[in-house]
C-alpha cells in the first residue's frame, strides 16, 4: 500500500494581516514515522524509563520521606527490640539486632519504593497520561518493560542510599558486600516492580492502592523474614514464609551481611541461619533463581494484562 504522507511542515506563525510567504518545500520535511519495529520498541522502553527517572529526581521530598520508614524500623524498632533479644546477642558478639534487621530493612525499602513506582500506573490512568502511552504505535510489552525498568532503577537507587547506614549497624563497608547487596537489590527491585505492574494493570481506581498495600505489600513484608528469623516457627507461619517470594531475596541479602561480620558461631546459627525447605537448606543460587523465576512470571503476567487494557 502506498503511504502518501503530507510533507508539509508547520511554519512559524505569521503576524495577523501579513501575507504569508510561500513555504519553502525543502526545509524541515515532515517526519517519517518508520524504522524497524524493534528499534521503535527500544526507544519506547528507553523513554518510559527516562520519564520515571525524571519524575523521581524531581520529587526530592519523596526521596527523603521514603527514608523515614526504614530508618524508624532500623533504629527505633531495632534498638527497642535489642533488649528483648539480648540473650541471643550477648555483648561482645560483634553484632546487634540492628545488624540482623539491616538486610530486611533494605529489602523493605526496595519493596515499598518499587511497589509505589509501579502502581503509579494507576495514577497515570487517573490523570489520563496512560492513554497517551496506550495509543502509541508501540508494543504494549515495550511500555511494560520501560515501566518496570524505571521502577526498578528508582527502587535500587533508593535502597543504595540505605547502604550509607552500614557503619551504624556494625556492617563493614566491604566492596564485595556492597556489590553483592546492590545486585540483589536490583533483582528484588525488578521482581517487585513486575508484580506491582501486573497488579496495577488490573486496578481501575487510585483507591485500590490501599487494598494492594494491605493485602499484598504488608503480608509480603511481614512474612519475608525481614524482621525475624524464619526458622523454628510454628508450622503455619513457617509454611507461609516459604510461600512469600520476598523471603527468597531477603535471605541471600542477610547471608551476604553475615558472611562479612565477625560474630560467634551461636549468633551466626540463630540469626544468620539460612532458609530451608524441611531439612533442605537452599543454596543462594537457588534462592536467586526462585526470585528471578517469580519476577519473570510477574513480568509475563504484566505484559499479558497490559495487552488487554484499553
Amino acid at each position: 500500500m502506498t503511504d502518501q504522507r503530507q510533507s508539509v511542515p508547520v511554519g512559524t506563525p505569521a503576524a495577523p494581516g501579513q501575507v504569508r510567504p510561500e513555504r519553502p518545500r525543502a526545509a524541515p520535511a515532515a517526519v517519517r514515522v518508520a524504522g524497524g519495529r524493534w528499534r521503535d520498541d527500544l526507544r519506547a522502553v528507553e523513554v518510559v524509563w527516562k520519564r520515571e527517572l525524571i519524575r523521581f529526581s524531581r520529587n526530592r521530598l519523596r526521596i527523603v520521606t521514603s527514608l523515614v520508614q526504614p530508618v524508624l524500623f532500623l533504629f527505633v524498632l531495632g534498638t527497642g527490640l535489642s533488649s528483648l533479644v539480648a540473650k541471643g546477642l550477648p555483648a561482645g558478639s560483634g553484632v546487634s539486632f540492628r545488624t540482623f534487621m539491616f538486610p530486611g530493612v533494605v529489602a523493605m525499602t526496595v519493596l515499598f519504593t518499587a511497589i509505589f513506582s509501579s502502581v503509579s500506573i494507576v495514577w497515570d490512568r487517573e490523570f489520563g497520561f496512560l492513554r497517551e502511552m496506550l495509543v502509541a504505535p508501540v508494543r504494549r510489552g515495550a511500555l511494560v518493560a520501560g515501566k518496570c525498568a524505571g521502577g526498578a532503577t528508582v527502587a535500587t537507587i533508593q535502597a543504595l542510599i540505605m547502604l550509607v547506614l552500614c557503619g551504624l549497624v556494625d556492617v563493614p563497608y566491604s566492596p564485595t558486600l556492597l556489590l553483592t547487596l546492590a545486585g540483589e537489590m536490583l533483582l528484588a527491585a525488578v521482581t517487585v516492580t513486575a508484580l506491582g505492574t501486573a497488579l496495577a494493570s488490573r486496578m481501575a481506581q487510585v483507591e485500590s492502592f490501599q487494598v494492594v498495600m494491605q493485602f499484598v505489600v504488608l503480608p509480603l513484608f511481614f512474612l519475608s523474614g525481614a524482621l525475624f528469623p524464619v526458622h523454628g516457627l510454628p508450622t503455619w507461619l513457617s509454611v507461609l514464609t516459604r510461600l512469600d517470594p520476598l523471603a527468597y531475596i531477603v535471605d541471600p541479602m542477610r547471608r551476604a551481611v553475615f558472611a562479612h561480620v565477625h560474630t560467634t558461631p551461636a549468633v551466626a546459627r540463630t540469626f544468620g541461619a539460612t532458609l530451608s525447605w524441611g531439612s533442605f537448606h537452599l543454596p543462594v543460587g537457588l534462592e536467586l533463581g526462585v526470585t528471578a523465576a517469580f519476577g519473570a512470571l510477574m513480568l509475563a503476567l504484566a505484559v499479558w494484562a497490559f495487552a488487554r487494557t484499553e
Partner: protein, 339 residues
C-alpha cells in the same frame, strides 16, 4: 495539498477516512448503528450531535481504541481493526480529557511523544519547536505542565498531536470544558493549522457554533448519521431566513407585505416577521418598494440548531436529555449483569 511522500507509486489522492456501515454495540445498547461516510484528504470534517449520540464511540473506533462490532473503516488507507499500528502511526489524537503528564515540562511531554512515535531524533528538535511556536507555547517550553491553564494544556495537546506529522488529526470535543474566550482562542489555532498544514481533521462537537468551522458536517443522532453536507448547504436546506421589521404601523406593514410581495407576515416578539429565501436580497427590495416607514430590520439566518431541529424533529438539548437517560439505563443494566 499532498506532498510527494516517499516517492512511492502515486495514486489517486485516497480519502483520508473511509467508513462503511461501521457499528458498535455495548450489550443492549447500539451506540453506533452502521455509519458510512468519507472524509477527503485535507478536509475538516465534523461530527455534530448531542452527548450520547455515538460521536465518541465512532472516534474511538477510528482511532483503533475500540474494536467495531461490524462494518469497516480505513484511516489513511489502513484498516482500523486489522492494521492498528499502521493507523496509529498516521493519526494524531486530542482527547476530551487531558492526557499530559503534569509533572513534566511541555518539552518533556513532547519528547516523550516523539520517542513513542519514532520521530527521527535529527528532526525532533526542529519539529518540536515548530509545533510549540504554532500554538504559542515556545516561551513556556520549560515550564511544568501543572502550571498551565486549561487552554494552554489543550494547545499543548494539539501541538503534541501534530508532532509526528500525522495525516489525520482527531479532535474529540476539542474545546469542551473551556471558557468561551479560550474556546475562541483554540479555534483560531485550529483554523490557522488548517491553512498552513493542509491536514485532514476529524472532530466531534456538540456545540453548534463550532461545527460552523468545518468544511463538512455529519449530524449524528442516536447512533445514525442523519445528514452530511457543508454547514452552508445544511442551513440553506432549512430554507428560509427570518426577517423582522420594526414599524410604527404594523398592520399596514403586514398588509403591504402581502400586497407587494405576496408574503404572509405575522407579529412575533413585537415585530412584523416574514420568512424569505434570502434575507439580504429581500431587504433592499423591501426598502425600495414598501410604502410603510420602517424603523429597524433584522435578518436571522437559520442556525445549525434549526438544521438539527429540521432533521431530527427536536433540539440538541432535548436530544441530550433523552440520550443520557438511555445511556444511564443501559449502563445500569450492564453493571447489574457483570455482578
Amino acid at each position: 495539498m499532498v506532498g510527494a511522500g516517499d516517492g512511492g507509486v502515486a495514486t489517486e489522492a485516497p480519502s483520508a477516512i473511509d467508513v462503511h456501515e461501521l457499528a458498535r454495540r455495548f450489550g443492549d445498547l447500539d451506540a453506533v448503528r452502521g455509519v458510512s461516510f468519507e472524509v477527503r484528504a485535507g478536509e475538516t470534517f465534523g461530527f455534530l450531535g448531542p452527548n450520547g449520540a455515538g460521536k465518541s464511540t465512532t472516534i474511538s473506533m477510528l482511532c483503533t481504541l475500540l474494536a467495531p462490532t461490524s462494518g469497516r473503516a480505513l484511516v489513511a488507507g489502513f484498516d482500523v481493526a486489522a492494521q492498528r499500528a499502521e493507523v496509529r502511526k498516521r493519526i494524531g489524537l486530542v482527547f476530551q480529557d487531558t492526557t499530559l503528564d503534569d509533572y513534566l515540562t511541555a518539552t518533556e511531554n513532547l519528547r516523550f511523544h516523539a520517542e513513542l512515535y519514532g520521530v527521527p531524533r535529527a528532526q525532533a528538535a526542529e519539529r518540536l519547536r515548530a509545533v510549540l511556536e504554532m500554538v504559542g507555547l515556545w516561551g513556556r517550553r520549560d515550564s511544568l505542565v501543572r502550571t498551565f491553564s486549561g487552554g494552554m494544556k489543550r494547545r499543548l495537546e494539539i501541538a503534541r498531536g501534530l508532532l509526528h506529522s500525522p495525516r489525520v488529526l482527531f479532535l474529540d470535543e476539542p474545546t469542551v470544558g473551556l471558557d468561551p474566550q479560550t474556546r475562541a482562542h483554540i479555534w483560531s489555532y485550529i483554523n490557522d493549522l488548517r491553512r498552513r498544514e493542509s491536514i485532514t481533521m476529524f472532530l466531534t462537537t456538540h456545540y453548534m457554533d463550532e461545527a460552523e468551522h468545518c468544511d463538512r458536517i455529519a449530524i449524528i443522532d442516536e447512533g445514525r448519521i442523519v445528514v452530511i453536507d457543508t454547514p452552508e448547504a445544511l442551513k440553506a436546506s432549512v430554507g428560509r431566513d427570518r426577517v423582522q421589521l420594526q414599524t410604527a404601523d404594523p398592520r399596514a406593514a403586514i398588509e403591504a407585505l402581502e400586497r407587494h410581495f405576496g408574503l404572509e407576515a405575522t407579529m412575533s416578539e413585537g415585530a412584523v416577521t416574514v420568512y424569505v429565501a434570502s434575507g439580504e436580497q429581500f431587504v433592499p427590495r423591501l426598502f425600495a418598494e414598501l410604502d410603510v416607514a420602517i424603523s429597524a430590520v433584522s435578518i436571522a439566518r437559520p442556525t445549525l440548531d434549526d438544521v438539527f431541529m429540521n432533521y431530527t424533529g427536536r433540539t440538541i438539548r432535548d436530544a441530550e436529555a433523552s440520550s443520557s437517560e438511555r445511556m444511564a439505563g443501559s449502563m445500569w443494566m450492564r453493571a447489574a449483569r457483570r455482578r
